[in-house]
């Protein structure tokens, strides 16, 4: 079925009985760089949750209702499953935006089509540059729910202001400064996930060598970085997690390493544990890092790694925080901060103990009202006073 600009059709009339289909796109636009995205909007037409923007940097919605997928023969596209789509999403808008110079009237030709599960084309909306003027971002088509019925609309309208204007139209705010593109995710070939409290793993020294530099990284969810002119939306982030640890040396001396109070520790002299500079903006994509000098592991007795929320409402569930412990030549060890307790600001994450030279790592993930309370629970025995950053 050919769909004309402005036309609206019930999805059920195109794809009987199916809420599963894919969207295929192809745009011929010599000299233009065009990005395609799918925005999942609420019933007010707003992007209330920016995880529902699906694009190359965020290939699926949390519900899995929309995923990046290119049907055979097309250049780009999305796999849609309306059954799986979060109930809060009432509208999917397929957008095209120009990166760099150019306007939509310059594009040669293009189409957006709906393809059923068997791979057959159910509908095709063809367009050309003559349909547009000076737009730099277009809402090509919308799949939306009205009166409980999903419909397709060949919208074909947009904004001369480009993606920024489009994002504002969807209720988002555009950060004034552009964020750098995130580095590609490193692929970890071997990984150990400590699933439950009490799970432990031991890292032995390899062939008489020391443990090397042990890196403990805390990372948490923040609004996904959008490249170029996009920036992040405001309002999505805001939770600042701080990483710290309690240390007991073999000789019995104790200390606390954290940004609060400026006790960053040291790597080449006791306590042989160091915290990288605190990043309070959350803009650093690497999160926060603690390093342990593995050559001096034998000088250390035990280390309790924790995270705390220095400012703001405890909202662990929104942070989706994870600690990854990397030791040279060893599998990566991952501990997720689950079993959230949003009434408490401090979370003991993992306990590292020296067991005859090997590192025994145990998952804790126990929440406390303060570091002091945590200290008492683990019988660390430090004196706690209020501090400032």
């Amino acid at each position: 079925m050919d769909i004309r600009l402005g036309q609206r059709v019930k999805i059920a009339d195109l794809l009987p009985g199916a809420g599963k289909f894919s969207i295929g796109l192809k745009i011929d636009a010599p000299g233009l760089v065009i990005d395609l995205s799918c925005f999942g909007l609420d019933d007010q037409g707003k992007l209330s949750d920016d995880r529902y923007m699906t694009f190359y940097n965020q290939p699926t919605t949390p519900c899995g209702g929309v995923k990046l997928y290119t049907p055979p023969g097309d250049r780009a596209g999305f796999a849609v499953n309306l059954q799986k789509l979060s109930a809060g999403i009432a509208r999917l808008v397929i957008t095209a935006s120009i990166e760099g110079e150019g306007v939509m009237s310059k594009l040669q030709s293009g189409y957006l089509r709906l393809v059923d599960e068997a791979g057959h084309e159910a509908a095709r909306f063809s367009f050309s540059g003559a349909d547009f003027q000076a737009e730099r971002a277009l809402m090509l088509a919308e799949i939306y729910r009205k009166d409980g019925v999903w419909r397709l609309s060949a919208t074909g309208q947009g904004f001369n202001g480009g993606l920024d204007a489009l994002v504002r139209h969807f209720g988002g705010e555009v950060a004034p400064a552009a964020e750098p593109p995130p580095p590609p995710k490193t692929v970890s070939l071997s990984k150990i996930t400590l699933e439950k409290r009490g799970n432990t793993v031991s890292l032995e020294k390899k062939g008489g060598a020391d443990h090397g530099e042990i890196l403990i990284n805390l990372n948490w969810h923040r609004p996904p970085a959008k490249k170029g002119l996009f920036g992040g939306f405001s309002g999505g982030g805001g939770v600042d997690l701080d990483l710290g640890c309690l240390v007991t040396m073999r000789d019995g001396s104790k200390g606390c390493i954290q940004a609060l109070g400026n006790t960053f520790g040291a790597l080449n002299r006791p306590p042989f544990v160091q915290l990288d500079g605190d990043d309070r903006t959350g803009a650093s994509l690497g999160g926060e890092n603690l390093r342990i000098n593995g050559a001096h592991w034998d000088d250390l007795q035990r280390i309790l790694v924790y995270a705390f929320i220095y400012e703001g409402v405890p909202n662990w569930s929104s942070t989706d925080a994870v600690v990854i412990l990397r030791t040279p030549g060893q599998p990566e060890i991952e501990v997720r901060l689950d079993s959230h307790d949003d009434r408490r600001t401090c979370c003991a994450i993992a306990l590292l103990e020296n067991q005859g030279g090997s590192i025994k790592i145990g998952k804790e993930v126990v929440y406390f009202a303060s570091q002091r309370e945590m200290d008492q629970a683990y019988r660390w025995g430090l004196n706690w006073i209020e501090g400032n950053k």
């Binding site: 004309r4 600009l5 402005g6 036309q7 609206r8 059709v9 349909d131 003027q133 000076a134 737009e135 809402m139 009205k146 009166d147 419909r151 609309s153 060949a154 919208t155 074909g156 309208q157 947009g158 904004f159 001369n160 202001g161 204007a165 139209h169």
Partner: protein, 192 residues
């Protein structure tokens, strides 16, 4: 509490609002929020007899002829962009003064210059027609167009018609291609 009609549904205005005399027909739609040429939508009203034709061209009420010869129907003016709250265009009807040979008031909306601007009703969101009793400012009936229409450039939103001594309103939502000209010709207007 106004009655919300579905496409094809009707309501007896005289029963819902006894002694209804002065009626306002309000029409609305969302203004264009994207860039590009504005949607200029125009409301028109055809006062037709039993044959569905206007007795003469003076009974075609539109932006160039805002008042009927008997004064019973008056177009309150053109809103060029559709912006602003509430009704975008409104037509006032004095039912008691409507000539007896007029059986029906057909209310249509057309997109001005639709072909040149490559516009159609599929691009117009949240269109509605409502009937208000002007004597107490109470909304009697309302029809939110269902978005089943799409590429048409003219649309009959609804019609007010005689049923014996009563007046009724029907939610029509029927689209036409060819714009105002085709619609006018169909209702017996001599278009120059």
């Amino acid at each position: 509490m106004a009655i919300t009609l579905q496409k094809g549904g009707n309501v007896n205005l005289s029963k819902e609002a006894p002694n209804l005399a002065h009626m306002l027909i309000g029409l609305g739609w969302d203004a264009r929020s994207t860039d590009g040429q504005d949607f200029d939508l125009d409301a028109s009203l055809f006062m037709v007899g039993a044959d569905n034709k206007v007795p003469n061209d003076a009974f075609f009420i539109f932006y160039n002829q805002p008042k009927s010869p008997d004064g019973s129907v008056e177009h309150t003016g053109d809103n060029l962009t559709g912006s602003g709250d509430g009704d975008d265009e409104a037509i006032k009807v004095d039912l008691k003064r409507a000539p007896p040979e007029i059986q029906k008031l057909v209310v249509a909306v057309t997109i001005h210059d639709a072909e040149a601007r490559k516009q159609n009703f599929g691009q117009v969101a949240n269109a509605f027609i409502r009937i208000v009793n002007m004597d107490n400012n109470v909304e009697i009936a309302r029809f939110d167009l269902s978005e089943d229409y799409s590429t048409e450039t003219a649309m009959i939103f609804g019609e007010v018609y005689r049923n014996g001594a009563d007046w009724k309103f029907r939610a029509v939502g029927q689209g036409f291609s060819g714009g105002l000209r085709a619609l006018a010709l169909q209702h017996g207007v001599h278009v120059g």
